[in-house]
């Protein structure tokens, strides 16, 4: 395997490891930090892919990733949490240990699943890692009991999907990437708006308070 391929494998593996850690972290600050590092690794992955394919635009994409996912989203998320007065302590449906265990199982599922798509090689590991990150992101979405946790779960899933795109296609058309970044930004803005409003209205961001609309 070429050095670039090894690098990509390491970056992807690192991303998945961080996702695995994030699945059981219950403090907003540590979650956000892990997300930052994960996004940084994603940017590095994009740069590596740029070297592999020789497409210049992937550098721009990497830059955007750093700008938006490493700096903008995490900082403003923390800021929003602080300003709205939400609790740093996050809740989940299961104990952290259980969540870690499930995440480990998901890793195995991801490895098996990716096998069905690609033969063993550099791309395969990246693909498996991306599957794993997506699955862990979904796990976070399902297991977290507050809005911040769910939001971060979604972003992790997005990271995973992005990695998936990188692994499979070495970058999608540029315009599409830009557009999806805009979508992500808008999504983030909405998350902050809602967490703020939730804290205002219900004095908490726990989803337990969002259970009134039943039949």
């Amino acid at each position: 395997m070429t050095p670039i391929a090894i690098a990509m494998t390491v970056f992807a593996g690192g991303m998945f490891f961080l996702a695995f850690l994030m699945s059981s972290r219950m403090r907003l600050g540590s979650l956000v930090t892990a997300f930052r590092v994960q996004s940084a690794l994603l940017a590095l992955l994009a740069i590596a892919a740029a070297f592999v394919t020789g497409e210049f635009q992937l550098f721009i994409v990497a830059g955007l990733i750093v700008l938006i996912k490493v700096w903008f989203i995490p900082s403003f998320l923390l800021r929003a949490a602080r300003v709205s007065g939400a609790s740093e302590r996050l809740q989940s449906y299961a104990r952290p240990a259980t969540l870690s265990f499930v995440a480990a199982c998901l890793a195995i599922v991801a490895l098996v699943g990716a096998r069905g798509l690609l033969p063993v090689g550099a791309d395969y590991f990246v693909l498996a890692a991306s599957f794993g990150i997506v699955l862990v992101g979904l796990l976070m979405l399902v297991s977290r009991k507050d809005m911040f946790g769910e939001g971060i779960g979604f972003f992790v899933m997005e990271n995973g999907i992005f990695t998936f795109g990188l692994a499979l296609t070495h970058g999608m058309p540029f315009l599409f990437e830009i557009g999806s970044f805009f979508d992500l930004l808008a999504f983030f803005i909405l998350i902050t708006v809602f967490t703020h409003r939730a804290q205002d209205e219900n004095a908490s961001v726990a989803t337990d308070d969002l259970r009134t609309l039943t039949d």
């Binding site: 979405l141 999907i161 998936f164 499979l168 296609t169 979508d183």
Partner: protein, 490 residues
């Protein structure tokens, strides 16, 4: 060019109200912009029904089916704006909302319509994805428009669920791109161009396309409201302001379905038969019919009732789409009929909500006496929703039954059972709602009597169009147009 104009005019709708001071000017500007959108959609779409060939370039693709959807979007956003003017005017008058809120409302509506149109006319599947996600984002704040308890909750669930769904759809999109580019057929931007993909479809690896389609179906299907991904729909569609609910139920669900149908054509081309996709459609369609039946039978809230009915009708449309060519005709008729009906129903529900200030059946009664015009319109619309002639849904449901009874009798029985339960539920809830006194007397005196307003005109437009559509379907002119629409989706 017309298409670009169309999209720009939506942005005009979005931004012009910000330049207006005074409610009347805001409304006037919004109405003009919205009418502009409507006229442009007519200009864009009508030629395609009368012989013009499909319009195609790198970014846009407009065939007869897309033209139909553009037409629906154009018309319903226009009547929704008319109803919004009436509705928001009332709310400003009673002090529920403020002037800046009205401006924000039209801002998001403009963006919403723009993104929906983008979904329909995009040739580039990536742009279609972006536009579909944009529809979720632009409508979330509309769902959360009021400061009521429950609005936030509905909007949050809507945001998270739909965005998660669309992200799953993105996986499907990536897989499609991978299928096209890894087999060396297409590269770069052209690999997610639908027309290009269509030409190379038979050579695309089938198994990969199947997996991609599953992601697309589940992902975009969350936005369509197929069971079991439907759970956000009753909350979001019932908490949003009524004109918005009308647009969400009437056209947004169809736009998402449009995306699924586009992918379906590709997968069918790759598999060289529509059997597999039809099976999926049948299963999800049946599920989406029978589950809402349980919720409709014992429902306490009339806007939620209409929302569950939307889920059921989407189920019927998807079910018909799995029944071959005749089924495709049925689903097209059903799409048009349901869009016009459900939006009009939500508009009427808005009038009822304005008067009674409650969405619960318990607290409302004798709507016919209190709001004669709205009540009569509401009753007619409900009857047409229940597929009573001269509703177009009568024809489409009979076509559905005719195909499914012969091809899939067990599914047909389940669907008929679901339809029967839903019918029973509707009559059980709506007729006393219209004619009997309320079970729980309202807190304050409810004013009796109403004047014919703009919203009634808009709803009447819908009714006239529905009847005209039914009549049109029975004339010989209908079959060539229907044929052209069907070739676009199969």
């Amino acid at each position: 060019m017309a298409i670009s104009l169309l999209l720009v005019s939506c942005l005009v709708l979005a931004t012009v109200p910000f330049f207006m001071r005074g409610l009347r000017f805001i409304f006037g500007a919004a109405f003009l912009a919205s009418s502009g959108v409507f006229v442009l959609s007519l200009y864009t779409a009508i030629p395609l029904f009368f012989g013009a060939s499909s319009f195609e370039n790198g970014y846009w693709y407009l065939d007869t089916f897309a033209a139909l959807m553009v037409l629906l979007i154009g018309f319903i956003q226009w009547t929704a704006t008319i109803t919004s003017i009436h509705y928001l005017g009332e709310e400003v008058r009673t002090g529920e909302i403020t002037l800046p809120a009205v401006r924000r409302y039209f801002f998001f509506v403009g963006l919403f319509v723009c993104s929906m149109l983008l979904t329909i006319v995009s040739n580039n599947l990536g742009f279609m994805w972006i536009a579909l996600e944009a529809t979720t984002l632009t409508t979330t704040l509309l769902v959360a428009f009021y400061a009521h308890k429950g609005s936030l909750e509905a909007a949050w669930k809507y945001l998270i669920l739909c965005s998660t769904g669309i992200s799953l759809g993105l996986i499907g999109l990536f897989l499609t791109y991978y299928a096209a580019s890894s087999s060396g057929l297409l590269h770069g931007l052209s690999a997610i161009s639908w027309t290009n993909l269509l030409t190379v479809a038979p050579s695309l690896p089938p198994h990969l396309m199947q997996i991609a389609f599953v992601f697309i179906l589940i992902g975009y299907g969350t936005k369509v409201g197929l069971v079991p991904m439907h759970a956000w729909l009753p909350d979001a569609h019932s908490r949003a302001p009524s004109p918005i609910s009308g647009m969400l139920s009437g056209i947004l669900l169809n736009a998402a379905l449009f995306g699924i149908l586009r992918f379906r054509v590709l997968v069918d081309g790759s598999l060289a038969s529509s059997e597999w996709t039809s099976e999926l459609f049948l299963v999800f369609g049946v599920l989406s019919c029978i589950i809402p039946a349980a919720f409709i039978l014992i429902q306490a809230d009339y806007k939620r009732l209409l929302a569950y009915s939307s889920i059921e009708h989407m189920g019927l449309i998807v079910f018909s789409a799995g029944l071959g060519t005749v089924g495709a005709v049925a689903s097209v008729i059903h799409i048009v009929g349901h869009a016009l009906l459900k939006s009009a129903l939500f508009f009427s529900a808005g009038n009822i909500l304005l008067r009674f200030k409650s969405t619960k059946f318990d607290r409302i009664g004798q709507v016919m006496r209190t709001l004669p015009y709205t009540g009569a319109l509401f009753l007619t619309l409900i009857l047409m929703l229940l597929a009573i002639p001269p509703s177009p849904l009568f024809g489409s449901e009979l076509l559905l039954i005719s195909q499914s009874v012969v091809l899939h009798p067990i599914f047909a029985t389940i669907v008929l059972l679901a339809l029967a339960i839903i019918f029973a539920g509707f009559i059980r809830l709506i007729i006393p709602f219209l004619f009997s006194p309320a079970l729980v007397p309202p807190k304050s005196e409810v004013e009796v009597g109403e004047k014919w307003g703009w919203s009634h005109t808009a709803i009447a437009f819908h009714l006239i169009l529905l009847v005209a559509f039914s009549v049109f379907l029975m004339t010989p002119m209908a079959s060539p147009i229907l044929e052209r629409i069907i070739t676009a989706i199969s």
